[in-house]
Amino acid sequence: MTEYIGIAVVFAMAGGVAGLMVILSSTLGRKNPTAVKLAPFECGKEPFSLPGGRLAIKFYLTAILFILFDVELVFLYPWAVVYRDLGLLGLAEMGFFLAVLMAGFVYAWKNGALDWR
């Protein structure tokens, strides 16, 4: 456990200093808020905002199709690594797997999911 003491000290000091700063500035500091001062600065965007503009639904469909087929293809990598050990049956199984995948692809194509209209 002794090797962790250093880390614990760093955590304690970091937390202590950061907490102290926040407490000091909120208790001692003068408060004179204006709209500009209260706006978030340096650290990102407005915390509350309405979604601006519309996004075409076809991007959504394309993204879903991409994820669908992309994730399935990940299975090809482990198969390729042990390809020689699996032999002919492994090849047949991967062929079947791809055929099933292609069935889904054909279905998506026939239903016009790939038409950019």
Binding site: D85, L86, G87, L89, G90, E93, V100, A103, G104, V106, Y107, K110, N111
Partner: protein, 471 residues
């Protein structure tokens, strides 16, 4: 490690047949959106898969895929049952598919895939394949519930079901991971032997509770039942029937195998959890059902009550108790499909309780069928419902859960009030609506099959006994 052998693939032949038909339906989707081809394909696949489950593997069963999948007497019984409920649900769907604009090929493909998941769940010997099967079943069921995309109620039901089902899956997965943490295994036999001779462990208690809760969601046992009435009401009636029959049977089968094989040595603790689930389901289900006026909600609460009765067999924790639960599941599937079948056959009129007023004067045959299914759901001889209920209550008494058995009998009297009220409506009231039109021949066929099983099961009480082989 070698590839999968053909002996392993033979164990999955029922599932593979269904998946093959799914692929065919998906590829031919554009050509079969009209006409009965999708239905015919589904029925053929269901029959072939039941035959494969019954005959491909020798009678004493076999395991494969490194001990992850078994096709033994237990999974064989449930696979045939699931195939039967798939076929009946597909036959019942014809009428509602004509009314709603539902794409036929996709609808039947989803029914088939959901059944594949159920079969995988009942034949798995490993928590992970069990989870995979249950999840496949649930995902397809969610899409089926929401498949009438132009109806807000259907969408709402699907979203509710989705949220609650994902919550249930999280519980189930957490239970699986805790079980793995305690025993170092996910396969049932290894979990069983790791638990034997161990002192009790709070972590194991949590694991069992979470597993039971996750699977109780699937069979809609109280307090994990809230999704069922909403999902059934929003879904089209055949989908609700399929959920009430198939997914309940699959959930019970999975729970039965987990309880008996994996957690067999913890039977005392487990039976307390199951007894609580059973008692709550029976009491809450049979009280809330009293106030229902929508037939789908009524049958949903009835299915919750029946989940409780079916759990009575598992409470005992013995092979005989598991057989009683199997008999219960087997007969319950047919009687609930039959009751839903009459509701479907009557169309809009069958959706509400009032629609049944004076049915006997207009359609005596239909009213008699409904009466048969209602008697079976109440548990009155000479229907299969009596045999089923007698078996599970007997097994509860034998396991010294006399209080639970008394509670079950009292509550079946309470719920008899609801079922008999429908009978009174049919036989002793004047008709409010014009007589229903002729039923499609497929719906008649489904009603005939379910009525036959419900009657024969009651007249020959031991007729299922040779097949109800506990795990």
């Amino acid at each position: 490690m070698n590839g999968v052998s053909t002996a392993d693939l033979a164990l999955l032949s029922p599932e593979l047949i269904l998946v093959g038909m799914v692929l065919a339906l998906i590829l031919a989707a554009h050509r079969i959106q009209r006409g009965p081809l999708a239905l015919v394909g589904t029925i053929v696949a269901a029959v072939a898969s039941a035959a494969a489950a019954a005959w491909v593997v020798p009678a004493d069963g076999a395991t494969g895929f490194g001990g992850m999948i078994a096709l033994d007497g237990y999974s064989r019984f449930f696979e045939v049952l699931i195939a039967a409920s798939l076929a009946v649900a597909a036959l019942l769907s014809v009428k509602s598919l004509d009314g709603d604009r539902v794409p036929r090929a996709e609808y039947h493909a989803l029914l088939l895939l959901a059944s594949t998941g159920m079969m995988l769940a009942v034949s798995s010997l490993d928590l992970l394949t069990l989870y995979l099967g249950v999840e496949l079943m649930t995902l397809c069921s969610i899409v089926l519930v929401g498949i009438r995309v132009d109806r807000p109620a259907s969408n709402e039901a699907a979203i509710k079901y989705f949220l609650i089902a994902s919550f249930a899956s999280a519980l189930l997965l957490f239970g699986i991971s805790l079980t793995y943490g305690v025993t170092g295994a996910t396969d049932f036999a290894a979990i069983g032997s790791a638990l034997r001779g161990r002192s009790s462990d709070p972590l194991l208690l949590a694991a069992m509770g979470l597993l039971a809760a996750g699977l109780a969601f699937k069979i809609a046992a109280v307090p994990f039942h809230a999704w069922a009435p909403d999902a059934y009401e929003g879904a089209s009636a055949p989908v609700a029937a399929f959920l009430a029959a198939g997914s309940k049977a699959a959930g019970l089968a999975a729970l039965g195998r987990v309880c008996l094989v994996a957690l067999g040595s913890e039977a005392r603790t487990l039976s307390m959890i199951l007894a609580a689930l059973a008692a709550l389901s029976i009491v809450v289900g049979s009280i809330i059902v009293l106030s229902q006026t929508s037939m789908k909600r009524l049958l949903a609460y009835s299915s919750i009550t029946h989940a409780g009765y079916a759990l009575l067999g598992l409470v005992a924790g013995t092979p005989e108790g598991a057989s009683a639960t199997m008999t219960y599941a087997g007969f319950y599937v047919f009687m609930t499909l039959g009751a839903f079948g009459v509701v479907i056959a009557l169309g809009e009129r069958g959706e509400t309780l009032d629609g049944f007023q004076g049915l006997a004067a207009q359609r005596p045959g239909t009213a008699a069928l409904m009466l048969l299914f209602l008697l079976a759901l109440t548990g009155i001889p000479p229907t299969a419902g009596f045999v089923a209920k007698f078996g599970v209550i007997l097994s509860a008494v034998r396991a010294d859960h006399v209080a639970l058995a008394v509670l079950a009998v009292i509550c079946s009297v309470v719920s008899a009030f609801v079922y008999m009220r429908i009978a009174v409506f049919m036989y002793m009231k004047e008709p409010l609506e014009p007589a229903p039109s002729r039923f499609p021949v497929t719906v008649c066929a489904a009603l005939a099959v379910t009525a036959l099983v419900t009657l024969v099961g009651g007249i020959l009480p031991g007729s299922l006994a040779p097949w109800t082989v506990p795990p």
